[in-house]
């Protein structure tokens, strides 16, 4: 049966490269019809306006004169942009390795739990469903100067810390991000882990490999494609941490958690469209380059993306 299906699909592919029959024409027409509404919407709502953004980033706000890279230079020299870019990069570079390591570690632990595995998986996933707005009040209660965490710190005989209004706010944000995203990443790790053939582990056991060796030489290499995926998804999610930052601290938070989104919002209020256009393109380009570089060095094969 398997063979038959294979033969079937192969023949289908072979025919595709041969002459275009009426059947193929019909199929290709159907494909475009199915795609048309989505493509039209994306063109109208994203591609054309984004083209406009690219154009505007090279023009002056008033009079519409060509400005070359003047807007870009303004943005790069802007102190708020430098701060926001620095904080966002620092956040990403801190959180993503932490998240990947912690969620992998917990996944391996959860894999080992036969009976309670599902309970743990659900528990780690739940924060994904909890609206940021609901959790903010709790974070206030826990991390405030007079909050529960400080109470515990006091009881253990240490000096309390003002978590929210000092540079420590960064760590509150890191914690929020880990709290929310560990479950998501764990599901992906678990999917990756279950894709590794058990026979490999058995063979290694016979050869006398210990738990660490097995992890190092079987699990880690087997998870490489998953790791790249997880990196990209965690990167996407890291930009959403603005929600916590904004809800905890408002439009002008402590300097350590002033993120790109804060900057965009503040420029937005003053309708600094030119600056925003240039900054949007800078962020997009840097992000894509970052992903491509990581992809190159993580040894992911061509068909993985």
């Amino acid at each position: 049966m398997q063979e038959l299906i294979k033969k079937f699909t192969y023949e289908g592919k072979g025919a595709m490269t041969r002459k275009k029959t009426t059947m193929q024409k019909r199929e290709s027409r159907a494909a475009w019809l199915f795609l048309a509404p989505s493509l039209a919407g994306i063109t109208l709502f994203i591609l054309i306006p984004f083209g406009d953004v690219v154009r505007r980033s090279f023009y002056e706000a008033m009079g519409g004169k060509f400005a070359g890279v003047a807007n870009y230079i303004t943005v790069f020299n802007n102190g708020a942009f430098q701060l926001a870019a620095k904080n966002t990069s620092r956040f990403i570079l801190t959180c993503i390795p932490l998240l990947l390591a912690i969620s992998l570690f917990l996944s391996v632990l959860v894999m080992g739990q036969r009976k309670l595995g599902d309970f743990f998986k659900s528990s780690f996933l739940i924060p994904m469903a909890v609206p940021v707005a609901s959790i903010v009040l709790l974070w206030d209660i826990i991390f405030d100067k007079n909050g529960l965490l400080n109470r515990m710190i006091l009881m253990s005989g240490h000096q309390p810390v003002d978590w929210m209004n000092t540079s420590k706010a960064f760590y509150v944000l890191v914690f929020s991000y880990l709290w929310k995203n560990t479950g998501y990443d764990m599901v992906l790790w678990l999917a990756g882990l279950s894709g590794i053939a058990p026979a490999l582990y058995e063979a290694a056991s016979i050869d006398g490999a210990g738990a660490w060796k097995k992890f190092r030489y079987i699990t880690l290499p087997g998870l490489l494609p998953t790791a790249f995926t997880l990196f990209v998804l965690s990167l996407i999610n890291s930009f959403k941490v603005f929600r916590e930052a904004y809800l905890i601290a408002g439009s002008y938070p402590d300097n350590s958690i002033y993120m790109l989104q804060h900057l965009f919002n503040n420029w937005f209020v003053t309708l600094d469209i030119q600056k925003m256009c240039a900054a949007a393109i800078i962020v997009a380009v840097i992000l894509l380059l970052f992903i491509l570089i990581v992809r190159r060095y993580s040894g992911v094969r061509e068909e993985d993306l």
């Binding site: 306006p49 739940i126 707005a133 959403k240 949007a280 993306l305």
Partner: protein
């Protein structure tokens, strides 16, 4: 070996406590009377020298905060309804736009398919910061700012559900479709009678993930809705928290309910959807 698995169990339990702890606090807090809650967390919001505390179980459990919020805060209902109005039409729209698009990418080969699909992936990756200016410009042009459509339309054309559902449609065995073709079924018929039922779990996954995302949305309403009367629950919640602590607790719990219910009902689909979001083809 035994000791090891015991250790890992203990470790997991401790970490899980970090998740259940705050949720437990939220639920128990919502059943505390005004006096108790003020005593517990008043120090956080006042400038007192006392520290906040917590009773693991409310001393005097009461439903009064619920009654108060539901009866005395018409605002809350308005915001709840705003959230519903802004989230669900977008999801329904995705059904009509993203499902066929995903089907097209999964089942057909046509010229330009690969670059187009890469375009969708890139759009999916781009954070809101990158697209907000362009969204603003186009919404302004169509005079949609400050309306529900400012949130609904961009959501309908989101690339994420297309990406997720494509994986599920791709997993449908080709032989099934060939067989239908031999029986003389047209393209639309195959889509309706094989694609949609066989890819249903993918569609549900995308919808559930899309719901969680939209229900929690902060950036979009903050940017595109100036009129506070249109604000969804997610923006309104932090506003009440400082005035009425009891009501804020209850409001947090109620705002969480739809998402938690959908989570409990759809956890299987969420997991499948997340696994499918693995970019590996």
């Amino acid at each position: 070996m035994k000791a090891k698995s015991f250790l890992s169990l203990g470790l997991l339990l401790i970490i899980v406590l970090l998740i259940w702890g705050p949720l437990w606090m939220m639920v128990t807090g919502s059943f505390m009377g005004a006096q108790e809650i003020n005593e517990m967390i008043g120090p956080v919001f006042g400038n007192e020298d006392k520290m906040a505390g917590w009773h693991l179980i409310p001393r005097f459990p009461t439903l009064k905060p619920y009654v108060e919020l539901l009866l005395d805060s018409p605002n809350f209902f308005v915001m709840f309804w705003n959230s519903c109005r802004q989230v669900f039409p977008g999801l329904i729209g995705q059904l009509f736009i993203a499902v066929p698009a995903a089907w097209s990418f999964a089942r057909y080969s046509f010229k330009g398919k690969k670059p187009l699909f890469i375009l969708y992936i890139v759009l999916m990756i781009m954070p809101f910061q990158v697209t907000m200016v362009s969204s603003y410009l186009v919404l302004d042009k169509f005079r949609l700012l400050n309306t529900d459509f400012a949130l609904i339309l961009p959501n309908i054309f989101s690339a994420f559900p297309v990406f997720i559902m494509e994986k599920f449609f791709k997993a449908i065995p080709g032989s099934l479709i060939e067989a239908a073709k031999i029986d003389g079924a047209g393209e639309l018929k195959i889509f309706m009678h094989i694609g949609i039922p066989m890819g249903a779990s993918g569609i549900v996954s995308a919808m559930v993930l899309g719901f969680l995302e939209a229900w929690n949305g902060i950036e979009q309403p903050l940017t595109f809705l100036k009129d506070r009367a249109l604000w969804p629950l997610s923006l309104y919640l932090p506003e009440i928290s400082k005035e009425k602590l009891g009501a804020a607790m209850v409001a947090s719990v109620i705002a969480m309910m739809p998402a938690i219910l959908i989570f409990l009902y759809g956890q299987k689909y969420i997991e499948q959807g997340i696994a499918a979001s693995g970019i590996k083809e």
